[in-house]
Symmetry: C2
């Protein structure tokens, strides 16, 4: 453990001590709510739903009450007046910066609104589950449409309360990735769409055998492999858990208690394997936060985009590489001899990387994945501005799927109902996934430059130096640096989609044995 | 489901509505803390300990803050002024009665004290676990002595804050069983001790083969049997869970979410079997509470003694009866053919009822069980008054074990470290267990009088009418009636140990084929 448990803050200052005390209470309330949420997904008996919705709403309301107390404002203001003198560190300044931002944001949201939103979202989540399961698992969007309308209604009101320049969606984007705007995404996303089209056009018709990925893979064996994989990548089970849930996610209560969930699809091996690598990537970020930041809002990943860069880094850059499977494939074969006995590692790596448009986001390949994000982004943006209605979402969804990817979702559960996000009020979140892909490419590029021998280590199952590099440069800082600053510190520049495009052209060119033209790096923010 | 989900309270009254809103928040906070506690025992990774201790302490402090607000006092007072007019029901009056009691009690405890106590107890619980596991599982009480001293120190201070007449222990007893006093226990317990001595003297030397209970019983098979048993007794798994924990317990977040934990000892069958019946008894009480009481402090068992009467009822009166095993033993034999194939049901019932002093409370037979309670009672009482010191507890413990039961605990984990209660600040709680035995005998007697055919139903595995009788008479009322009133409503009299003594003399006389003189019923409170 490189992290310290001694506080990194200026506890000699009485105001700072008071602030840290208040902050610890807010952190605990957030964690109590998080635990209730985790339990709801992992453990809760179905009958407990109504009581749980109320419980989470109560905790969120109390947190909001305490977060908007005048006393807190005065304390922050007093500390802002002296934080630039020599006694305070960058940690103190970062904490004040985040508290000020959150105080100002929270103060804009009326208490009644927060309670209502918490209740509506909790209910919508349960409705979504039922709608997705309805119709023998095919799903029925119409069961969910009015709950979704209520969620977006509140999101629009939230944007109005918070205020925004340009599109109302900017107010929501800003909460997951500070400063991110519709205008920016409308510049970045076309770069990804173009690259995807280029690759899709060139690989179309290339036959890749993926049939062996869809044989029967018993859940129990998958779980034991997943645990082993997660542990070997560095997930610390004395400070975390791995459980089953319908939708994989990561949640942290402290750097010492970080929980991931995963699923094991008995008919599709990659879902569970890459699910667990992905969530482990998130978890390593949270477990790697300096414990001296514990009990404050700095003790977590700095933005959703950076968070997603960590999961993508492990899932795609490490976990889908040839070298990774040189090490793991023999073991996987031993676990599933009848399914994989006659497959070799090259065939396996080709199959898990095959570019193949799918209706399901979390099963998409690295390339078409971004299109799933773009589709959701466009729908969110247009729902929020009122340009489209929730009842029309399945139709619009399917149209976009056809036009971007040439595929036709057969059911709602494979279409607009597939993701939990909207039902939990996560609007403005999806773009983070593509930001994650982009940041991951930037970080990977920097890491490779400093460790040119990375491939050889991965092929030996050694990830220690990768973890250390990520921890040193990214994880331990928690939210001390904002995403743009962190990116600049680590890679020398801000968000730049060209690294991802170049990586993708190179990787898929090699995989398919074709020459995909790599453009020159053309930093957007330079 | 006989229970309603419509509120039973006078929601037409605006003050009552306000009170119910406040009460719902307090209930939610209690449940959030309960969930954190449950998770700590069932799921939490070891590293999460420190953060969890802080979390629970924060929630308890906030709850205490809200519970002692002047506004609440004024609201209660206002309602007390009008609650006797015709618009209010016994539910409203009961809620006000409980709120008034709890408000007055909570207001006597300073905020700082509550925070301190929550922290000390959480820490003591972790220390207890370590101390019990220490020394290769033999336990080391000395590791726990100073934490225990801190717990009792605070308990003494708590008694002083709350105020008491007579012994300071009365202030603590009152929290689990209203009105119960040292003076009363010093009358009741000798009746139990005398009866135990009589039975022990007479059955001494009688050989009962129990060896087959201590063979290897694989955990997995035990768990599947336990689940089946619990379901068949009426535990509703759509409104509850059964999990593994070091120490079995029941916790409820709502009548719709009631969780039990159990253990399966691979070397001792009865631990898991009677553990799950016992906890199911507690759970049926909580699941049977009228849902119209949800979100208030009335939606739970009315006292620890009555609660324990429900677990004892199922564990002993039903679960250790001959008739019960006439139905279940064939299935148990099929599950464990090599262990139980050559045992018959009579031998089995004799073995599980054998009077045999044991160092372990939760493995004690029905008769000597009360002695375990008496020993803890005497130690608690004397620790609280300062008559003895925590460091001397193992010595005193072992002396009492020798003198009452003639046995000599070989290790601390089999002695003074065996129970979790003290470490979680549950002082004054143990007597409830014997109260439970006594109440159970009274309820059983009433039920038998109304349903003389009870034995025949049990022998057919039919428990529906028992459950219905308990639900109708006890469960659905939650905490609407105080224990003494409930007992009088159901059995026509208050707590009376003679029913237990008569039941025990009769049962063990039959089991051992000896004539144990049954005294005349001599109601203590008549």
């Amino acid at each position: 453990m490189t992290s310290r448990s001694k506080s990194l803050f200026n506890t000699a200052d009485p105001d700072m001590r008071k602030l840290l005390e208040k902050e610890a209470v807010l952190t605990d309330l957030g964690n109590a709510s998080g635990l209730a949420y985790w339990d709801q997904d992992v453990n809760m008996p179905e009958g407990g739903e109504d009581a749980r919705v109320k419980l989470i709403s109560t905790l969120d309301t109390i947190q909001h009450d305490l977060q908007t107390r005048r006393y807190l404002d005065r304390l922050i203001t007093r500390l802002e007046g002296k934080v630039d003198n020599g006694d305070f560190s960058e940690y103190d300044r970062a904490l004040l910066r985040e508290l000020r931002t959150d105080y100002d944001l929270a103060s804009k949201l009326p208490r009644r609104f927060v309670t209502e939103q918490s209740k509506v979202n909790s209910k919508a989540q349960q409705t979504w589950k039922r709608a997705k399961m309805a119709n023998d698992g095919k799903g029925d969007f119409s069961l969910f449409a009015s709950d979704l309308a209520a969620v977006f209604d509140l999101k629009r009101r939230e944007a109005d309360y918070l205020g925004f320049q340009g599109h109302p969606y900017n107010a929501l984007l800003d909460q997951y990735e500070q400063g991110l705007t519709v205008e920016q995404l409308d510049t970045i996303f076309p770069v990804l769409v173009d690259a995807t089209k280029t690759i899709l056009d060139r690989v179309e018709g290339a036959e890749v055998d993926r049939s062996f990925l869809s044989l029967k893979y018993p859940r129990g064996v998958q779980w034991s492999f997943a645990r082993r994989l997660s542990r070997s990548l560095g997930f610390d089970f004395t400070r975390g858990r791995l459980d089953r849930a319908v939708h994989p996610f990561t949640i942290k209560f402290d750097p010492t208690d970080v929980r991931i969930t995963n699923r094991a699809d008995p008919n599709y091996l990659p879902a569970g394997v890459f699910g667990v690598i992905h969530e482990t990537g998130h978890a390593l970020y949270e477990q790697g936060v300096d414990r001296g930041l514990s009990g404050t809002r700095l003790a977590t990943g700095t933005s959703m985009g950076i968070h997603e860069s960590q999961s993508r880094f492990w899932e795609n850059y490490v976990g889908r590489s040839n070298e990774f499977w040189e090490y793991w494939f023999p073991m996987l074969q031993r676990k599933f001899p009848s399914q994989l006995g006659s497959v070799n590692v090259d065939q396996f790596v080709k199959a898990i990387n095959a570019v193949r448009p799918s209706p399901i986001r979390i099963e998409a390949d690295e390339i078409t994945y971004n299109i799933h994000v773009v589709i959701r982004y466009e729908i969110e943006r247009d729902l929020l501005s009122g340009k489209i209605q929730t009842k029309d979402v399945p139709m619009i969804w399917n149209e976009k799927m056809r036009s971007y990817l040439g595929i036709d979702p057969q059911t709602d559960s494979q279409g607009a109902l597939q993701d939990v996000h909207w039902s939990s009020g996560l609007v403005g979140y999806f773009p983070s996934y593509s930001l994650g892909n982009i940041y991951a490419a930037q970080f990977y590029n920097s890491l490779r430059n400093q460790h040119p021998d990375i491939d050889r280590s991965i092929s030996k199952g050694e990830y220690g130096f990768i973890r250390q590099w990520l921890r040193e440069n990214i994880h331990r800082h928690g939210s001390v640096y904002r995403p743009g600053d962190l990116s600049t510190n680590v890679t020398g520049e801000q968000l730049n989609p060209q690294y991802f495009v170049d990586y993708a052209m190179n990787k898929f060119g090699r995989l398919y044995g074709i020459d995909l033209k790599t453009s020159q790096l053309n930093p957007l923010h330079a």
